[in-house]
Symmetry: C2
Subunit: 317 residues, 2 copies
């Protein structure tokens, strides 16, 4: 079983309003309410592979119930620890030109007692887990070492962890020794303090390598940097690779990084060699961009895309 942790889930509400009156009354022509949060997208991306998964996290109030109910309808098994605070909503208004305004609620402040209850449930789950994914931001009230604690608990039980977060939670988490850490370029730049672009705004691969090596030296067994349309750059104990899609994929980039995380943990539990893991991760990410909703993809796009990914071993890194 893969345990996916989403400590700060959301209900993502989208209103389609052909022409928005920003000072008056609007009647949306289409309304969607979907479970959100990065861990939720990871779990949804894993579900079609038919391996046992469990989405764990913190959820509260009627919005928490709405998230859990929507996940049940999507056949994603969940075990949320209840919080007194109400789970957050995100609200997006999209007009017919595709312009979007987002309103992200701050989410609940989680108490120490609530996080302790979560940790108890988490320890029970990792006892029967083959891997753990920790994904997304930490809710208010939790220490920046919260993910580090969860990594230490899994590692003690011999369960590998894939970590996808940012800022201080990423820095503290890396030190706890996750099997894979998956920053994107912005997250790696913020953590390393390095400029990762060349003078003409291209990707500075050498600088990305250096920053990834630093994360490895700080504790991560492997570092996979998601580079958007430039694919993935991996620094591992078995070597370094750069995996690229055949062409720029247009569509909805929300959840593309979560598809990478899903494919990486899937490859980890299957024991796939690194080049194969990265090929699947790039193909699943591209298929996810083509799908209209984060966390979804078409099997045909995914399987059809596998052969088009270029995976190059970087001997120099």
């Amino acid at each position: 079983m893969i345990v996916v942790v989403c400590l700060n889930p959301a209900l993502d509400i989208t209103h389609h309003v052909p022409s928005v009156d920003w000072t008056g009354v609007n009647r949306p022509t289409a309304v969607y309410a979907r479970p959100g949060g990065k861990g939720t997208n990871v779990a949804r991306s894993l579900r079609p592979f038919g391996i046992p998964i469990l989405l764990m996290g913190l959820a509260g109030g009627t919005t928490g119930n709405a998230v859990a109910a929507a996940l049940r309808r999507l056949a994603v098994p969940t075990a949320f620890t209840e919080t007194a605070g109400e789970t957050r909503r995100t609200f997006t208004v999209v007009d017919s030109a595709g312009s979007a305004a987002l309103f992200n609620e701050p989410g609940p402040e989680v108490s120490a007692a609530e996080f302790a209850r979560f940790r108890l449930a988490y320890r029970e789950a990792i006892a029967v887990a083959s891997a753990v994914v920790l994904s997304g931001s930490l809710p208010q009230g939790l220490p920046r070492t919260a993910y580090a604690e969860l990594i230490a608990a899994a590692t003690e039980s011999g369960v590998p962890v894939v970590l996808d977060t940012s800022g201080e939670a990423l820095g503290a988490g890396v030190a706890a020794g996750p099997a894979i850490v998956k920053p994107n370029l912005d997250e790696l730049r913020a953590l390393s303090g390095r400029c990762l672009r060349t003078a003409d705004d291209g990707l500075d691969c050498a600088a990305v390598h250096t920053a990834a090596r630093e994360l490895q030296a700080a504790g991560a067994e492997a570092v996979v940097v998601s580079l958007g349309s430039d694919g993935l750059l991996a620094v591992t104990r078995e070597g370094c690779w750069h995996a690229r899609p055949s062409a720029m994929v247009r569509g909805n980039a929300t959840g593309a990084g979560d598809a990478v995380t899903a494919a990486l943990v899937h490859g980890l539990v299957l024991g796939r060699p690194w080049d194969d893991r990265l090929r699947h991760a790039v193909a699943l990410s591209a298929a996810s961009v083509t799908a209209p909703v984060a966390g979804e993809f078409s099997q045909a796009d995914y399987l059809g895309g596998l052969d088009t990914v270029t995976v190059l071993r970087k001997e120099a890194c």
Copy 2:
């Protein structure tokens, strides 16, 4: 017991965003989620008077649960008939200048079977009711005669009905003989097809009288027209009155008309004479405008305002 019917309740979500980026990501500084819909406001306005009330209606999905849970926290007794469709949300973004954008979801389509289940519950409730309030718009899927049916059922049982709705539901409802109908000026204008303003955009009292008399001739025992800052104009079998606040009240006008409806039904069950009912209705409405949230008011504002209301009997009408 006063039965208040709210067939199309809502969860009213408000985000306060000091300076809105209409093409980017916003982080609201304050978030409110409150039960909404006109009947909900009427029930909340009645609750402080300590008389037994029951808020009935149709609610579904986790948004319906959120509305019911919020009403429980406000100590408003509810009996909602469950719908398969999800209860609607309204979403308001307010900036620091007080400018507001509203996004009103359409709400669920109600099936004939769901409305039949509601009518069963309603018939049980009116058997022990002293009055009924029917308030707000009809949800999709119901015939325009839905309120007329509910009025006929109550009238058969000798229970008087106060009706506050608009358009075809108002027209059909009036014909069923409610004890009081409470249109505002816009609703009366739309139904009567009359211009209710003078050439210099003032209130044309004579035209309002004529339009109200027409509603009375069409079936309503009494017609109370809410005129905003001009107060209330009542056409009843006991005579006609114009009740006015002492001064223009500034504040949140949402729910002001619902406070009028609440005071009118309260006066009806207490057997207050019409001039007294109207005095209370104007004072409660003004106190509601002063309160920041629809459905709330300060007792001090309400009781202190009673003596400042002018109620004039209109012998001419």
